[in-house]
């Protein structure tokens, strides 16, 4: 579908999945991961997507320009574990056309 973008998601076992994500359903990256069941339920999106748990932390591998980090995401990441330079919270990344070809890897469960 023309409103879909292709995203490459590497799961916590190291397997990479190329998935189609809709841009017109107000979904975020965490929800895309859940919709494709790329991480077990209960281990991702625990807080529902309020940037309050970091269970959807991922590492951005490609050079896409993503929405700027807001205070709550930055604060949550400052308390999370396994945080790297390219860490983001999937729940704070709404799926948009600019994400075509995005490559991310899920951070370990903590």
């Amino acid at each position: 579908m023309e409103q879909d973008v292709t995203i490459k998601i590497t799961d916590r076992d190291g397997n990479t999945h190329e998935v189609l994500a809709p841009t017109d359903m107000a979904m975020n990256l965490m929800e895309v991961v859940r919709s494709y069941e790329l991480a077990p339920e209960g281990t991702i999106g625990v807080c529902g997507g309020m940037a309050m748990c970091a269970s959807c932390q991922c590492y951005v591998k490609s050079n896409h320009e993503l929405p700027e980090m807001q205070d709550d995401e930055e604060a949550m990441l400052s308390e999370a574990f396994y945080v790297k330079e390219n860490s983001r919270l999937g729940c704070q990344l709404p799926i948009s056309k600019e994400m075509e070809g995005l490559e991310v890897e899920l951070a370990p469960e903590s």
Binding site: G42, C47, M50, M52, E74, S78, F81, Y82
Partner: protein
């Protein structure tokens, strides 16, 4: 031994509403929750966030929803075992159950309803290799009794409200309070942040930011932590290290109760009455799974209502009952109160 009709594990919205529905059927409830207060995620994680999909509430704060559910079920006098995690379950010869918590509190009931959401909230532990060696030997993840820290040297790590609040509180109790956070900014109420700033200026709290505790040392008991600040690493002596990095839910001991688990949730008999593979044990709300399951508070309410009807049949085999409407029948509380709709005025027109 605490005895009740329905033992509810989890005092979140679904568990609390179960008390009301059970009460209408004259069944008493007791709730166990690992958190020190009722409300589950609503009160622990997002009390100040609005919820928009509770029927008849265009908008309600999660904390207010908890308060209203407590108010609604109050007349059915629920019992609470809070701050304790349901650990083991033993089925008795008569088909009833004894559930024991991690603190040894025993509960006896013919029906168990697991309304545990995503599980019990466990502290998130920092990734320090030997941290387990010092747990309860100077490292605590939850502050239970502030007096425990009187005249001690305490290092607190974290950047949220609990790290701020406890630093403020302990600055009057402990001999020394050090607060360590990875950033200069804190994610807490503004007045807490300002208070910490004030206490720092008064020399009552030592603030080390942006920094991180990367090592713990001691001899049978914690004696010091290693703090990394930029390129520098140094040790700081202490009697206690309290990492406060929030809580994350884990299914925990329930996973070992012989229940069928699928996708980190308890499998139930589709949408019949939410009974698990063990007769007498039900799973309702976010903790269960069945085809078409939606993890919504409103679905938890529905599941609780259906579950109570099945619980009634187990507790009162063969006893007749028909569904009643509260508007018609009113609500008779176990505390002797009665709520009822005012009678219509009957008056002749002359």
């Amino acid at each position: 031994m605490i005895t009740t009709d329905i033992l509810i594990i989890g005092a979140g919205p679904t568990g609390l509403f179960t008390v009301f529905e059970a009460g209408l059927l004259k069944l008493k409830c007791h709730l166990i929750d690992a958190l020190p207060q009722p409300g589950g995620q609503c009160s622990e994680i997002y009390p100040k966030k609005p919820i928009y999909d509770i029927p008849a509430y265009p908008e309600i704060l999660a904390g207010d929803l908890t308060d209203k559910l407590l108010e609604q079920c109050k007349q059915f006098e629920p019992g609470f075992t809070l701050g304790e995690r349901a650990e083991t379950i033993d089925k008795q010869d008569d088909g009833t159950f004894i559930v024991t918590t991690n603190k040894g509190t025993k509960h006896h009931a013919p029906v168990v309803a697991i309304a545990g959401g995503l599980g019990s909230f466990e502290p998130r532990k920092p990734l320090i290799d030997n941290i387990i060696d010092y747990e309860d030997k100077g490292i605590e993840y939850i502050i239970k009794d502030p007096e425990f820290y009187r005249n001690k040297r305490v290092v607190i790590a974290g950047g949220g409200d609990s790290a701020l609040d406890w630093s403020i509180f302990l600055s009057d109790v402990a001999s020394e309070v050090t607060l360590i956070h990875r950033r200069n900014e804190f994610r807490g109420h503004l007045d807490s942040v300002e208070k910490v700033q004030e206490l720092k200026n008064q020399g009552k709290i030592e603030l080390i930011t942006p920094a991180e505790v990367v090592g713990v040392h001691g001899n049978g008991k914690i004696e010091a932590v290693t703090i990394k600040k930029g390129e520098d690493s140094f040790q700081k002596e202490c009697d206690h290290f309290v990492p406060l990095f929030g809580l994350s839910p884990k299914l925990g001991p329930i996973a070992n109760w012989g229940l069928e688990i699928e996708k980190n949730a308890i499998k139930v008999n589709n949408a019949l009455d939410y009974q698990t593979n063990i007769p007498g044990i039900f799973a309702i709300g976010d903790v269960n799974t069945y085809p078409g399951k939606l993890k919504l508070i409103l679905c938890g309410f529905h599941e609780a209502t259906l579950m109570c009807q099945a619980a009634y049949q187990i507790i009162n085999p063969g006893k007749r009952y028909v569904l009643k409407y509260t508007t018609v029948s009113g609500v008779d509380g176990f505390d002797g109160t009665r709520k009822e709709a005012p009678k219509a005025v009957v008056k002749a027109i002359e």
